[in-house]
């Protein structure tokens, strides 16, 4: 757009807007410095640091059992999967043989976490494009999952159910029954999501052709999870670097090639169906056995570097541990999906309107404590 209108003295000027750190669309304390020309976005600069808690530095101080608890507070919507990532790293470093029962339970709860996270994302996504009712529909279904978690491990959000070597304790006797109930319930409710929001013509107009990210860009920005898969970048860690019980189940990787906001939206909806299918394959055959293997009270990792990645609800979470053989790690680094996904926000939002920025940002599914550790 020309900044000067022809044959006129009228000029339009670019101006700054601080979106956040307190803003309803940034879902937390993300601050975006917007350069705007009228309604058109010229530049988006994310400014982080408002919820930085030095989790990585704190990890260097803590024992390996304690690190697990810190990871809850990163991406709080997939806390179980974060815990699992640290536990897997430690277990691989110690070369522990994990019982099948643990693997299956971890997978089931991991997938339940994924559904819960996507439910919340879907509700908030609708709210960001102005459909407030979706929020309550998403939360209705998420609530059932939280109840299942609460019964099994006592916590609803920050679960701490994993420990290096297995699980803290066995699942609740009701777990299988209630999970099955939830799957039956959610199978009737997930189509409601489509009738309420996906099929809406205004919603499709807002999402289609907006915030386009090509496959090449997705790879070069390090996009992962549904953001990458919406651009046709097949990057599911569960498939390519399989862990826990994902090698025992068959599931499809949700892939769309359009690369726009709507593709990312559809990928997440598709993932909820896939997660349900994974849970259904496992829930009836949870193997008998122990829920943990004995580890030393003080875990000392052998000297060296260890890396493990998992697929959280937002994408690829990598845990890097550099150990010098003591009870504390020398350095811990988390490769969080949100950080890489946020980095491409400027790329997909420039040229769009303020409304497009909000809609595109919602499809990135950002959780700020995950970005700002």
């Amino acid at each position: 757009m020309d900044t000067t209108i022809k044959n006129s003295n009228l000029k339009s000027e670019e101006y700054f807007i601080n979106m956040g750190p307190q803003h309803p669309a940034t879902h937390g304390v993300l601050r975006l410095l917007l350069t705007i020309d009228g309604e058109i976005i010229k530049k988006v600069e994310p400014d982080l640091g408002y919820i930085h808690r030095s989790i990585e530095k704190m990890c260097e101080r803590d024992s390996y059992q304690q690190i697990v608890h810190l990871t809850d507070r990163m991406d709080y919507l997939s806390s179980h999967i974060n815990n699992e990532a640290v536990c897997l790293t430690v277990e691989n470093a110690l070369q522990l043989e994990i019982p099948d029962r643990v693997k299956v339970i971890r997978t089931i709860i991991g997938e339940l976490t994924r559904i819960a996270s996507h439910c919340l994302w879907w509700g908030v996504m609708g709210m960001d494009v102005g459909a407030l009712t979706t929020y309550f529909y998403g939360f209705r279904d998420r609530e059932m999952i939280n109840d299942i978690f609460e019964e099994t491990c006592g916590a609803r959000l920050t679960m701490n159910y994993n420990i290096p070597g297995g699980l803290m304790f066995d699942i609740h006797p009701n777990f299988v029954k209630r999970t099955k109930e939830f799957i039956a319930h959610f199978k009737t409710k997930l189509p409601e999501y489509d009738t309420l929001l996906t099929g809406n013509v205004i919603f499709q107009k807002r999402m289609k052709g907006v915030g386009i990210l090509t496959k090449e860009d997705a790879i070069s920005f390090g996009a992962s999870g549904p953001v990458g898969r919406g651009s046709g970048y097949s990057c599911d860690v569960r498939k390519y670097h399989t862990y826990s019980a994902y090698d025992k189940v068959t599931f499809n990787e949700a892939l769309k090639t359009d690369g726009d906001s709507f593709a990312r939206y559809q990928v997440r909806i598709q993932e909820m169906w896939e997660s349900m299918s994974i849970i259904e394959q496992l829930i009836d055959n949870i193997p008998e056995g122990d829920v943990q293997v004995a580890t030393n009270a003080v875990i000392k990792l052998p000297k060296g570097e260890f890396y493990q990645k998992v697929e959280t609800a937002r994408g690829e979470l990598g845990v890097y541990i550099n150990s010098t053989g003591t009870k504390n790690p020398y350095r811990v680094k988390f490769r969080s999906p949100g950080f890489s996904n946020l980095s491409l926000l400027n790329h997909i939002a420039v040229g769009g309107k303020i409304g497009d920025l909000v809609a595109s940002m919602a499809t990135l599914d950002l959780v700020i404590p995950d970005i700002d550790r």
Binding site: A25, A131, F136, K205
Partner: protein, 354 residues
């Protein structure tokens, strides 16, 4: 049972019993203004409550249910809270315009109410250009929004105000033209006469196809006029925080808020009057009891208010350019064609009359 509800004459006659004619006229105006103010402050509050209840029904929750039975006193309590709140403002705001803005909005809403015939006799101000007066008065509100947004010295408020200006100017056209379509059928702008015409059948039936098209355009444009979802670009909380009233607090905010709900009532009431026979009962079933007209008028209006709430709680919001595309590329040409169609129908005498 035939209670005279011709409020103006009743009050004037009562007052002229003990004061001069001029003083009685002024006294009547003051009394009527106070009555309307009281009625619509309360009506506005209960529309807010209704909105919250409707939202709750859509959203799998109960809504307000603690203050008073069924939450009936909730909005009263809210209003009390807002009255007692501190009126904050930005330091570098244009204080005069900043303080003036809410009054523009609320006054324009309240003035528009004066011309509605709630029933045959219950009408404060029956002028022969009633419909024109309504359109003219209701467009004053946007000045308040523009002033408020501009004077608050806040960029979010300014964007909201700019959007509001663009939106209201565009959709005013559609509101006006869809009402003009119906005026072709009635041949009068006076609201009481528009209702007289409908004794042979509500206009939406009389004018059949073009009337239904005009009604749909009117409802879309009317929703946009009141800045409600899916056209709530002006406030768009996920984009602009609170839009033009970001910097307002306490009672000044409450004026904006109340005005939105009264505007919604006005849009629905105009639709009731012009399309659905105003206070006329269906098939004249309660014609012998005139005061029941109020019941029919309010009932029909609330059906339409409910429709607008239904829009709000199910639709996502449009983007600002899509909003303008919808108006200038679809609604406006359709509206102009519709006027021609209506003219043809009136000319060829194809209306349906009972």
């Amino acid at each position: 049972m035939n209670i005279s509800l011709n409020i103006t004459t009743t009050i004037t006659e009562f007052l002229s019993g003990f004061m001069s004619e001029g003083a009685a006229n002024i006294g009547t105006m003051v009394v009527i203004a106070l009555i309307y103010l009281a009625i619509f402050a309360v009506a506005g509050l209960y529309l807010v409550l209704l909105e919250r209840k409707v939202a709750a029904w859509f959203q799998l929750r109960l809504g307000p249910n603690r203050v008073g039975p069924w939450g009936l006193l909730q909005t009263m309590a809210d209003a009390l809270k807002l009255v007692s709140k501190e009126l904050t403002g930005t330091v570098k705001a244009d204080k005069f315009l900043y303080n003036l803005a809410p009054y523009f909005v609320i006054v324009s809403s309240l003035m528009a109410l004066a011309v509605f015939p709630f029933t045959k006799e219950f009408q404060a101000f029956d002028i022969n250009i009633g419909l024109f007066f309504l359109i003219a008065i209701s467009s004053i509100g946007v000045i308040g929004i523009l002033l408020g947004g501009w004077a608050s010295n806040n960029k979010f408020a300014l964007i909201g105000a700019m959007r509001s200006g663009v939106q209201t100017i565009s959709y005013e056209l559609s509101v006006g033209l869809s009402l003009i379509t119906m005026v072709l059928l009635t041949g009068t702008l006076q609201l009481s006469e528009i209702i007289e015409v409908q004794k042979n059948g509500w206009l939406i039936v009389q004018g059949h196809i073009p009337a239904i098209i005009a009604f749909m355009i009117y409802m879309i444009a009317g929703t946009a006029e009141t800045n409600r979802a899916p056209f709530d670009m002006v406030e768009a909380e996920s984009e602009l925080g609170a839009g033009f009233h970001t910097e307002y607090s306490g009672m000044k905010f409450a004026y904006f808020f109340l005005a939105e709900f009264i505007n919604m009532f006005i849009i629905a009431a105009v639709a009731t009057t012009v399309f659905f026979g105003g206070w006329l009962s269906p098939f004249g079933i309660t014609e012998s009891i005139p005061w029941l007209g109020v019941f029919w008028f309010i009932g029909k209006t609330f059906m339409l208010v409910f429709l607008m709430m239904w829009f709000r709680w199910t639709f996502p919001r449009l983007r600002v350019d899509q909003l303008l595309t919808l108006e200038w590329k679809y609604l406006l040409p359709l509206n102009l064609l519709n006027i021609i169609l209506m003219a043809l129908i009136v000319w060829l005498n194809l209306t349906i009359q009972f």
